[in-house]
Symmetry: C2
Subunit: 334 residues, 2 copies
């Protein structure tokens, strides 16, 4: 297992004293470009357009945004509200903002969150690798890799840990319409890591499972409610239903900070509606008739009953009640 | 109900005495362009690139291809084999070719198939409209509209008949990756017909069904096996599993000619594997990292047990054995 410095995927987001440096994920897989956010407004724009995305990465981004407000002399409470409002579904964004607000030194806290993220993901990867058998075919949806975090990844962290253990997994990468995070980001990461993968359209998961070509599903999460209902990228719920139908175990991998004790169940999770143009055009190229009505929900909520287990830095939980206890114990220890 | 001449969607394919005229569906929804196939090779190219597609339309195309071989002095058996080999899954292609081969006048037979197609689709639309309640939300996948046929449509024919009965259906249009027949063709047709619709990515079907926003699913078919297992555009099987899970009735609409008595069950259906580039790029714009492995199955097979009924010109069949009897009786009557 390499150190962070040797990682083939650079850190997604970093605090640089007076600015935030981040990978502009819109430009992947074509080019790996780092950009700087020097103001809270810039950061909010980068979050809205998904230049930086993924629940754990947004936790770090939120904390760094508070630090940025401090050093740029912007009222911190206003900045915090502005940052939290950019994306309503991922709980880590609000969590990171609050951690920095509560800290004496927001910049140091933001850096601690970023460093912790990589440590946490390596721990959850190690804890979750047991669900990936030797030579397993693993299906994942969206990108819950290093790019969705500060580093290492959650769902891809589990696969990566299995790969580092010599298990030689093969990954079915759902392309993940509309923004193709699977095709653009997950396939790129797995290629960099030397992990065998095959890209498929989202709706081919049924053919794969029906043919016995999927042994396990591992996905990330944007918010896990107190009862275990799990919000993640739109399409995840469908994969969970299919996995249930075909008897394939379906796991969610995420840091405990993604569990939201204040959200009772999935019905209380706000699902972000995004722009119609994300569906009606691809890469600036119009694919649908002009003016067609579009419904573009960015997330869906998988009922807890369809989840075989939640993989966290504190281990694998099959009972959402125990997951909630673990989440609360972390809060108390900080 | 308008006559064929008043149809807002022109016939997809027509025999013009010495050539075949067809809508180049690759250019929709941006422009409605008719092109001519003057040789069997040209026709085969148009079929392979999906300028003309959809099981019933391919039935007419196959018959017209045999007629074209006759008038251009190409050996008919060679041409027939060449045409059938272009697309392995849709049974109507081979069926249309055989009908023309068996006829004394292939051109007249091809025209008869084309005319019959519109009559058949109007009949199956009328027979199927009962499954669409007033103000129903109907979900469909891919394009089984006028463009998939010579005219009127199968799954969209059912919706169109319900609309003509004043039932005011609303249609959820799955975009249907990779080639976006839903976004490009189905949304365009429904707009022309004045039927309310909303475009969604394929993987949003789960959110819709979970929220009770889908009352019924109606799709087309490329081949129905003797036991009722149904091949259709990749993604259909997933919609059927979801419909089953959420208690939404799932119907297949197709002419009896799509039932293949010689295919015992789904396992015997050859599923076409198409080019990786259909997934790795959209509209010529690369979306995935270069060189990524892709699995691009064009169809999947929905087990008969997930189908609430097959809607045909001979009525709605809930028992695949009765469907097979109806198919065989048509064969005998010709």
């Amino acid at each position: 297992m390499g150190t962070a410095d040797e990682d083939p995927i650079p850190r997604t987001i970093e605090w640089c004293g007076d600015r935030i440096r981040l990978i502009d994920q819109r430009r992947l897989p074509h080019e790996l470009v780092l950009v700087d956010a020097t103001t809270v407004d810039e950061l909010c724009d980068y979050i809205k357009v998904l230049a930086v995305r993924g629940a754990p990465a947004l936790g770090a981004a939120g904390a760094m945004g508070v630090a940025l407000a401090h050093v740029t002399g912007v009222p911190v409470d206003t900045a915090a509200a502005q940052i939290v409002a950019t994306r309503p579904t991922a709980v880590n964004l609000a969590w990171g903002v609050q951690r920095a607000l509560d800290a004496d030194d927001p910049a140091a806290e933001a850096e601690r969150i970023a460093d912790d993220d990589v440590v946490i993901n390596r721990a959850l990867g190690a804890a979750g690798a047991e669900v990936v058998a030797a030579n397993a075919n693993v299906l994942t949806h969206c990108n819950a890799g290093a790019l969705a975090c500060v580093g290492y990844g959650t769902a891809l962290g589990v696969i990566r840990a299995a790969h580092e253990q010599g298990k030689r997994p093969h990954v079915w990468v759902d392309e993940t319409r509309p923004l193709l995070q699977g095709a653009r980001l997950t396939a790129w990461e797995l290629d960099r890591l030397g992990i065998d993968c095959t890209l498929v359209i989202d709706s081919m998961a049924t053919s794969l499972m029906s043919a016995g070509q999927v042994d396990v599903v591992v996905v990330g999460a944007d918010r896990v409610a107190a009862n275990g209902d799990t919000a993640n990228k739109v399409g995840t719920h469908g994969v969970a239903v299919l996995a249930h139908h075909f008897g394939v175990p379906f796991y969610v991998a995420m840091p405990l900070s993604t569990v939201d004790p204040d959200t009772a169940d999935g019905a209380a999770i706000v699902v972000e509606q995004r722009d119609a143009d994300e569906v009606a055009s691809v890469g600036g190229h119009a694919v649908a008739a002009p003016g067609v009505a579009v419904d573009n929900r960015a997330f869906d909520v998988t009922p807890a009953g369809l989840v075989a287990g939640w993989i966290t830095e504190a281990g694998l939980f099959r009972d959402p009640a125990e997951l909630l206890v673990a989440r609360r114990s972390v809060t108390r220890s900080r």
